[in-house]
Amino acid sequence: MTETLLLSLHIARRNWVVYRKDFLANISPSLSDPLFMVFSLGVGLGAMVPPLEGRSYLEFMAPGLVSFTALVTSFFECSYGFYIRMTFENVFLAMLTTPLGVREILIGEFIWVGLKGAVMGTCVAIFLALFGAFQVSWFALLIPVVGFFVGIGCGAMGLIASACVRNINQFQTVYAWIISPLLFFSGIFFPIEQMPKLAQVITWCLPLSHGVRLSQLAFWQTLTWSSFFFHGSVLLGQCLILSAIGYRLCAKRLRP
């Protein structure tokens, strides 16, 4: 098990080496999107929106941007990024001739997107704190944990997509009909309770909404043990299920 973990960390390290080569280009979309959302929606539109759940619109939407960032960064990494590594660059073929197996490769990819989700989410939280969108407290320690698990869950969705698409263009369909609705209807921009019952059920079945809720409760310092265990365990369960499906499908694709 230790050896598996060590080998998997080499995969995560490989991805980091590649990522840092073009650091500015890679990090820009992850940070610029939440930044512009804060200005346009939080400050601009927020001035015209009445308080939501007793908070200004900026305070309401800011926490969700942490999970939003973790979703975008992990989904793109495990869809376009992983697919390109698997098909166009064919890097896994040679890796499989070394002591690495399919298991180490996929665990390494999960570690990488989890860490990326954690770090990116934390970066966005720091920016929001500097902007005055939330008060720093001990609850903020939850932010990287939420980023990590949202990263794993949404990264797993990216892996499932990578295993299922027939060509790289088909990711656009996945993004348009699965990822975009997730972003808009997971409680980042308005409370989930505003939607019809069926839509609420569907939304709560996907990992982003529980990540958003945990971020909100942490930012607003209203997190209770019961809400932590409820949303945390559902998020963990969703991560496990999606990761198991993603692992199984991608393992088939990776074997020669």
Binding site: V17, A94, T98, L100, G101
Partner: protein, 309 residues
């Protein structure tokens, strides 16, 4: 005598109803260079994938250095190196970064990685390219780098899967020289190739694989002597020549006539018989040469047509 490095006993691999390997038996001895030859689709790559545990077998037994690659893949892969058919180099990394990453994969301690990589880049005359992007390398350099990658683990068994396909003669000769040096260091080598000359030059023994079965295993020389001894005259496809050669071959059992898409081939055990025939029939051959492994290969895999077919 030490035990064989590879022991395959009735190895079967099926994909649905298709049997890629239909009961392969072979043994590769320590320090030996063993060639696995066969036409496309014969099962060579399937055997190699089984050897390092990338796929699982349908039946039979396979041992690599006494280990079962299906259940002990990691242990097997720590002790082997594979020159893959495709380069599969990581184009996002430089030459040196690629090799340092693979050195980590194969378990080279971190302090030894850089010296090991530098030593092997030097060995393959690639030191000056260490900082370059993979895209900046020529096809021959990429292939040499794949050799470096395969040697990082200091393998006891080196698997070469069509190592020189598509390379120019200079690079091919360089790689052959490196294979010879590795053999001197007692590294066991399993080679698949479409170049019969390469197999004849490098291999102690070869197995000819066709439709998932081993047709014969022997040294190249023994195989040639047994299957197609003598000399080969090669003639252009011309009705007049064909008629004269067919007439001679039908009357004289010393002549063996075959047709290939590249020309008409006439074999005899003694070169004098060929020369006498040319004088008598006023025929000028395109080429005369000793028989080789390619003649054996084409005969055994049924890729050529005998005059009576």
């Amino acid at each position: 005598m030490s035990s064989p490095v590879i022991i395959a006993d009735k190895v079967v691999k099926s994909f649905g109803s298709f049997h890629a390997l239909a009961g392969v038996d072979l043994e590769v001895q320590p320090g030996e260079c063993f060639g696995l030859l066969g036409p496309n689709g014969a099962g060579k790559s399937t055997f190699i994938n089984l050897a390092y545990g990338a796929i699982s077998r349908t039946g039979g037994s396979l041992k690599i250095m006494g280990l079962d690659p299906e259940t002990q893949a990691r242990e097997v892969k720590k002790r082997i190196g594979v020159v893959t058919q495709e380069n599969a180099l990581d184009e996002s990394l430089t030459v040196e970064e690629n090799m340092l990453l693979y050195a980590a994969f194969v378990g080279v301690p971190s302090a030894e990685r850089k010296p090991r990589v530098n030593e092997l880049l030097e060995y393959m005359s690639l030191s000056h390219k260490a900082g370059e992007a993979i895209k900046a390398l020529s096809g021959g350099m990429k292939r040499r780098l794949v050799f470096v990658r395969a040697l990082l683990s200091r393998p006891e068994l080196l698997i070469l899967d069509e190592p020189t396909t598509g390379l120019d003669p200079a690079v091919r000769h360089l790689l052959w020289q490196k294979v010879h040096e590795l053999r001197e260091q007692k590294v066991t080598i399993l080679l698949t190739t479409h170049y019969m000359h390469e197999a004849e030059l490098l291999c102690d023994r070869v197995a000819i694989l066709n439709k998932g079965q081993v047709l014969q295993t022997a040294s190249p020389k023994a195989m040639i002597d047994e299957s197609v001894p003598g000399f080969m005259g090669i003639y252009s496809i011309d009705d007049r020549i064909k008629q004269r050669l067919e007439s001679s071959a039908s009357k004289d059992k010393r002549f063996h006539l075959t047709f290939r898409s590249s020309g008409i081939y006439l074999r005899t055990e003694h070169i004098e018989d060929l020369l006498a025939l040319h004088l008598r029939e006023q025929i000028v051959p395109l080429q005369m040469r000793p028989t080789n492994l390619e003649d054996v290969f084409l005969k055994m895999t049924g890729e050529e047509l005998a005059a009576h077919d």
